[in-house]
C-alpha cells in the first residue's frame, strides 16, 4: 500500500502553483453548458403562480381555465384550497407548457382567492413580534461583579438584516423521465450531486411516486453559484419532476429573478444589545448580550457570541423570532458573519472609549482566544504593515479636512474547513491517458482544476493530460459542497486514489525495468529512476494490459488535510459626511488555510468572499414591506450587491510555508466572508466618529447616525 502524503512543494510541478482555471475559456466564451442551458428535445417550460400575500389562507383555487389553454401539458397544485400560506412569493401552482409564454398565460388564467391574515416581518422591532421563543442561554463567571469592577462599559445596539444568496444562476432544473417512467435524469444547479438522487426519491415518495435513488441521475457540469442555498431539490425540484412525469416530456423549471431573491434562500438577520466591560489597559472582563433574529418562519438559532474572544464573565440570551418570510438556508459561513459583527464592533467601541488603538486591544486579549493566538498575532502584524496601520490610523475623535473622512477598521475570524467524505476513482488507461471520476461539483470555485492539479501532480503530467469528470451522481460519491469542505475532501480522495494507482503501476513494471518499485518515480510523462528515464508513462501503462484503477477516500490514512483556520481583515474606507456615501478604498485579508493547492484559485476565492462581504456590509438588504409583507426589492436594481467598481483594492495574503503547509489542505470558502461586515463597520466608525449601528451602511444610515450624534451632543 502506498504512503499517503503531499510532495515536497519545492519540487512540485503544479501544487501551490498559479495555473489558471481549466474551465475559464469555456466559461468566458459561453460554451460551458449550465443546467439553465439544457434543452432536451420536446422540453416543456414551467412557470409558477405565487402568493402575493405574506400570510393568507387559500379560499378558492380554480385551474380549469389554465388547463383549457392550448399548449398546456401539465399542471400541479402545490398548495390547494384551505392551505395556509406563510410568506409572500410562496408557490401555489406550477404549470408546464410548450412555450414559456403559454406557461405564463396559464398561470395568469388561474383563479385564486385568499383570506388575508395579519403578518409580521419587522423583527428589528422585536417588542412587536406576535411570538418569540427564548433560545439557548449561557452564563459563566460573575457578570454583575465584573461589570462593576470594569473601568469602562459600552452598551451597543447593533444589527444586520436578512439578506439573499443572490445566485446568478437561479435555482432550478430540467427533468426528463425514461419512457416507462421508472428513471429520470435531472440537470440541476446543485451543490450536492451525490446526495440529490436520494433527496429527490424521498420527495417524490411523499407525493406517491416511487423511484429508486439509483434510477435518479443528477448532472451538474457547471454551476452559477450556490453559497449554501442549493443543497436540496427544494419543493420546486420535486414539482418539476412531477410535471415531467405527468406530461411524459422533459420539463424546465427555473425560478424567476424575483422569486430567486425573495424565497430561494436567505441569511437570518441578527440584532443585539451588547454590553462589554473592560479594564483601563484593554483587558476584557465582562460580556452581556441579548440577541435576536429571524430566518423567516422558523426563527433562528442563537448567535454564538462573543466571537473568537472568550470573555471570562458572560451572560448570553437569545430570542428566535418567527417572521412571515421564507425560511433561511445556509449562507456562506452560517452564523459567523453575524457573531463576528456583533462582537468585533462592540470590542472596537470598547477600544474607542478607552482611546486605545483597536489592534492593541485585540492583541491585549489574545489570551482569551482558544486557538491560534500566535497566528492572529502574526496576522495582525502582517495586515497592519500592509495597510500602514501604525502610520495612518488615527483615533475616532480626530477629523480629516473636508467632507470626506478616511477610516481604518479591523476584525478577526475563525473557521473549520475540514475535508468532507469523498470518493474519487482514478483510472490509468492502457494508452497512458488518465481519468478521474468524482461525484462532486464545481460551484465556480475551481474544484475541477483542483482535482486535475492533484492527479497531474501525482502522475507527473501536465494539467490538461488529466481528464476530470465530475458533476454526475453516477460517479463515486462525494460530499455536498458546504462549509469549506470540498477542497479538503476532493484533494484527499483524488490524491489517495492517484497514489494507489501509481504504486500499483510501479509494482507491475518493476520487473520489466529491473528496478525495485520503491525506487521509481513519475516525472514529466516518464517513469524514472533518479534522473534516468526508463519508460514513458504510456509504455508503462500498456504493460499493465488492462490499465489500473483505484478508488481513493477521504477521510483516510495520512495527513492530507486539517481543520481550523484564523484570519484577520482590515478595511480602509472613505466616508462623505455630507452625502453619507461610503467608498471602499482598500481591504487587506490575511488568512491561513494550510497547504495552498493553487494560489491563483485560492486568492480568487478570497476575492469572492471579500466582495460578497463588502456587499452585505454596504448594500445588501431584503426590504420587507410592513404593509403588504412583500419583499419590495426582489430584483437586482434595489437589491444591490457590490460590483467591481465598488470594491476598491483587494489585497490578499495567504499564509504558507512551514507551520502551514504540513497541515495539509483546509477549505477557504467561508473564512474571507466573515470579517468584512465588522471590519468595514469599524472603519466607518473610525472615519466619522460614531457607530452606524446597522448593516448595510447606506447613506441613509450614515446620515441618520451623524444626525443622532449631533442631537446627543
Amino acid at each position: 500500500m502506498a504512503r499517503y502524503d503531499w510532495p515536497d512543494l519545492s519540487k512540485a510541478r503544479h501544487l501551490s502553483g498559479t495555473a489558471s482555471r481549466l474551465d475559464g475559456p469555456v466559461k468566458v466564451t459561453g460554451r460551458a453548458e449550465y443546467a439553465t442551458d439544457k434543452a432536451p428535445a420536446g422540453m416543456l417550460h414551467a412557470a409558477m403562480l405565487w402568493c402575493p400575500h405574506a400570510h393568507a389562507v387559500i379560499q378558492r383555487l380554480d385551474v380549469a381555465a389554465a388547463e383549457a389553454l392550448a399548449g398546456v401539458e401539465a399542471i400541479y397544485v402545490i398548495q390547494g384550497e384551505g392551505a395556509r400560506v406563510q410568506w409572500a412569493h410562496d408557490e401555489i401552482v406550477a404549470v408546464a407548457a410548450v412555450t414559456e409564454q403559454i406557461a405564463r398565460d396559464a398561470v395568469r388564467a388561474i383563479e385564486v382567492e385568499y383570506e388575508v391574515l395579519p403578518h409580521f416581518v419587522d423583527e428589528e422591532n422585536v417588542g412587536e413580534a406576535p411570538s418569540a421563543r427564548p433560545g439557548e442561554e449561557a452564563s459563566e463567571g460573575n457578570v454583575e461583579e465584573a461589570f462593576a469592577a470594569a473601568d469602562v462599559v459600552v452598551d451597543s445596539r447593533l444589527g444586520m438584516p436578512q439578506i439573499a444568496h443572490l445566485c446568478l444562476e437561479p435555482h432550478g432544473q430540467v427533468v426528463e423521465w425514461n419512457e416507462d417512467l421508472t428513471a429520470c435524469t435531472v440537470w440541476a444547479s446543485t451543490q450536492a450531486v451525490s446526495t440529490m438522487p436520494s433527496q429527490i426519491a424521498e420527495g417524490l415518495a411523499v407525493r406517491g411516486v416511487n423511484v429508486k435513488p439509483a434510477d435518479v441521475r443528477v448532472l451538474t457540469d457547471y454551476m452559477g453559484g450556490g453559497f449554501g442555498a442549493k443543497f436540496g431539490p427544494d419543493r420546486w425540484g420535486i414539482v418539476c419532476a412531477l410535471l415531467a412525469r405527468q406530461a411524459k416530456k422533459p420539463v424546465r423549471l427555473f425560478l424567476e429573478r424575483d422569486q430567486e431573491v425573495a424565497v430561494s434562500g436567505s441569511r437570518p438577520s441578527a440584532y443585539g444589545r451588547v454590553r462589554v466591560g473592560a479594564k483601563e489597559d484593554g483587558e476584557l472582563v465582562a460580556w452581556d448580550s441579548e440577541t435576536w433574529g429571524s430566518g423567516g418562519l422558523p426563527g433562528t438559532g442563537a448567535t454564538p457570541v462573543p466571537y473568537v474572544f472568550n470573555v471570562p464573565n458572560l451572560r448570553r440570551r437569545h430570542l428566535s423570532v418567527p417572521t412571515n418570510r421564507t425560511g433561511s438556508k445556509a449562507w456562506r459561513a452560517p452564523n459567523h458573519p453575524q457573531a463576528c459583527f456583533l462582537t468585533m464592533t462592540a470590542l472596537d467601541d470598547v477600544a474607542a472609549k478607552l482611546a486605545m488603538d483597536p489592534v492593541k486591544l485585540f492583541r491585549r486579549n489574545l489570551g482569551l482566544v482558544s486557538r491560534f493566538a500566535d497566528v492572529y498575532d502574526e496576522q495582525l502584524e502582517i495586515a497592519s504593515n500592509k495597510i500602514g496601520w501604525q502610520d495612518r490610523w488615527r483615533p475616532r475623535t480626530e477629523r480629516d479636512e473636508g467632507p470626506v473622512q478616511r477610516g481604518l477598521g479591523v476584525s478577526l475570524h475563525t473557521w473549520g474547513g475540514r475535508g468532507h467524505r469523498s470518493n474519487c476513482e482514478v483510472v490509468l488507461h492502457p494508452d497512458g491517458s488518465i481519468e478521474a471520476r468524482i461525484g462532486t461539483q464545481d460551484l465556480g470555485t475551481g474544484t475541477r482544476s483542483v482535482v486535475a492539479t492533484v492527479v497531474a501532480e501525482t502522475f507527473g503530467v501536465g494539467l490538461t493530460d488529466v481528464e476530470v469528470k465530475m458533476g454526475d451522481s453516477r460517479f463515486p460519491q462525494s460530499g455536498p459542497s458546504g462549509g469549506s469542505s470540498t477542497v479538503g475532501g476532493v484533494t484527499g480522495s483524488s490524491r489517495r486514489a492517484s497514489q494507489d494507482v501509481v504504486a500499483e503501476l510501479f509494482e507491475r513494471v518493476a520487473g520489466t525495468v529491473e528496478q525495485s518499485s520503491e525506487d521509481l518515480a513519475l516525472r514529466d510523462g516518464w517513469v524514472v529512476h533518479g534522473e534516468r528515464r526508463l519508460l514513458s508513462l504510456s509504455e508503462a501503462a500498456a504493460l499493465t494490459g488492462t490499465g489500473i484503477s483505484a478508488v481513493g477516500r477521504n477521510p483516510g490514512p495520512g495527513q492530507l488535510g486539517d481543520s481550523g483556520v484564523a484570519g484577520v481583515q482590515m478595511a480602509e474606507v472613505l466616508v462623505d459626511v455630507e452625502t453619507g456615501v461610503v467608498t471602499m478604498a482598500r481591504m487587506v485579508a490575511v488568512q491561513d488555510c494550510g497547504l495552498v493547492v493553487n494560489r491563483k484559485l485560492a486568492e480568487s476565492q478570497m476575492h469572492g468572499g471579500m466582495i460578497m462581504g463588502i456587499g452585505y456590509a454596504l448594500y445588501e438588504e431584503l426590504v420587507s414591506d410592513p404593509l403588504s409583507g412583500r419583499i419590495l426589492n426582489p430584483d437586482m436594481e434595489f437589491y444591490r450587491i457590490a460590483s467591481l467598481m465598488d470594491v476598491g483594492e483587494l489585497d490578499v495574503h495567504l499564509m504558507s510555508g512551514p507551520g502551514h503547509d504540513e497541515r495539509g489542505v483546509i477549505g477557504l470558502g467561508e473564512p474571507p466572508v466573515i470579517s468584512p461586515g465588522a471590519a468595514i463597520s469599524n472603519a466607518v466608525a473610525n472615519a466619522i466618529g460614531v457607530r452606524v449601528p446597522y448593516l448595510p451602511i447606506t447613506p441613509q444610515r450614515v446620515l441618520d447616525a451623524l444626525h443622532a450624534a449631533e442631537k446627543r451632543a
Binding site: Q101, E578, T579, L632, S643, M645, Q700
Partner: protein, 324 residues
Amino acid sequence: MRPFAYARPETVDEAIEMLGEDGATPLAGGTDLLGLLKSDVETASLLVDLKGLTELRGVREEEEELWLGALTTLEDLRTAPSARTALPALADAVAEHRSPQIRAMGTLGGDLCQRPRCWYYRSGFGLLARRNHQSMPEAGDGRYHAIFEEGPARFVSASRLAPALIAHGAEVDLAGPSGKRSVPLEDFFRSPARDDEREVDLRPGEIVLAVRVPKRLAYSAQYEVHPRRALDWPLSAAAVALETRAGKVVDLRVVLGHVAARPRVLEGALVVWSGQSTLERRAQELGRFAVEGARPLEDNRYKVQTTSAAVRRAVQRAHERLEA
C-alpha cells in the same frame, strides 16, 4: 409577458397613426418598457417600434440652440462633441449612467418618458400606490421616495436627464394626431392625481420628437448622489446652469431631480446667489434654500441632506467651469 402585436413604422405620421389604436404603446430602447411588460405592471396590445424613425436620431447644432433627437441614444449623447461642450450638465448626467448596455440602448425620449422606479408601483400596487386610503410609501417604506409633496404622488421622477435639460431651458417637441406642439420641458412633467394618469404631458397617440436646448446658459453642471459606483439610481440630483454677461451672472437656474414627482425647478435662485458675496456662501445658501419646504417622510429625512449637498456641489462645479 402577455402577447402583443409589433409594428415598425418608417415615418412619424405612420407611427402616430398606429399609436391611435387602442392599447398601442411606443417602444424606443425598451430598457424600461420591456421590464414593465414582463412583470405585468403595464400592458400593451401593440408595440410601435420607433427605432425606424431615423430622422429622430442625432444631435444638430443650430445657431441659437441644440437639437437633440428623441431617439438619440445615451451613448450618442455622451460622445456628441456639441452636446458635451454646450451642455456640460447633460454630459455629467449621461456620464453618471454607469451601464454601457443601457447607454447603448436607452434613448433621450425614453429617459424622459420612463416610468417611476417606485417599488410599490413596480410591485403592482398602482402608480400612486394608495391602499386603504393611505399612501403606501408614507405608511410603509419610503426611503427612496419624494421629500416634496406635489399632490398624492410620492414616487420620484425617474428621468436622469431632465434636471440638466430643464436647467438649460430646454423645450420638448411633440407630435400627435392633432399636430405638433412644443412645451417647456419643465411643464412636460406632471404630478398625476390618479393611477391612470401619466407623469408626463403626452396626449393619446403623442410621441416625443426632439428636445431643443438654447446655448445661452453655457456654464452648467449636474451632481448626483449615488449609493454605489455601479449602475444605480440617484438618491438626489441637482443641475445648475449659469448665464453670464460681461463676467456677471445674469441668470441662474437650479433644478432638483429624484426628490419629487416632477423635476423641481428652484424659483428665486438668482436672488439667493446675488445676496451672497463668496462662492462658498452662495453654494451653502442655495443648498439650504433648495430644501426649504421639504416634507420628508420618516424614512427619507436623509434625502434632505443629500439634496442640499448635491446643490452645493453642482453650484461649485458649474462655477469652476465658468472660471475655467
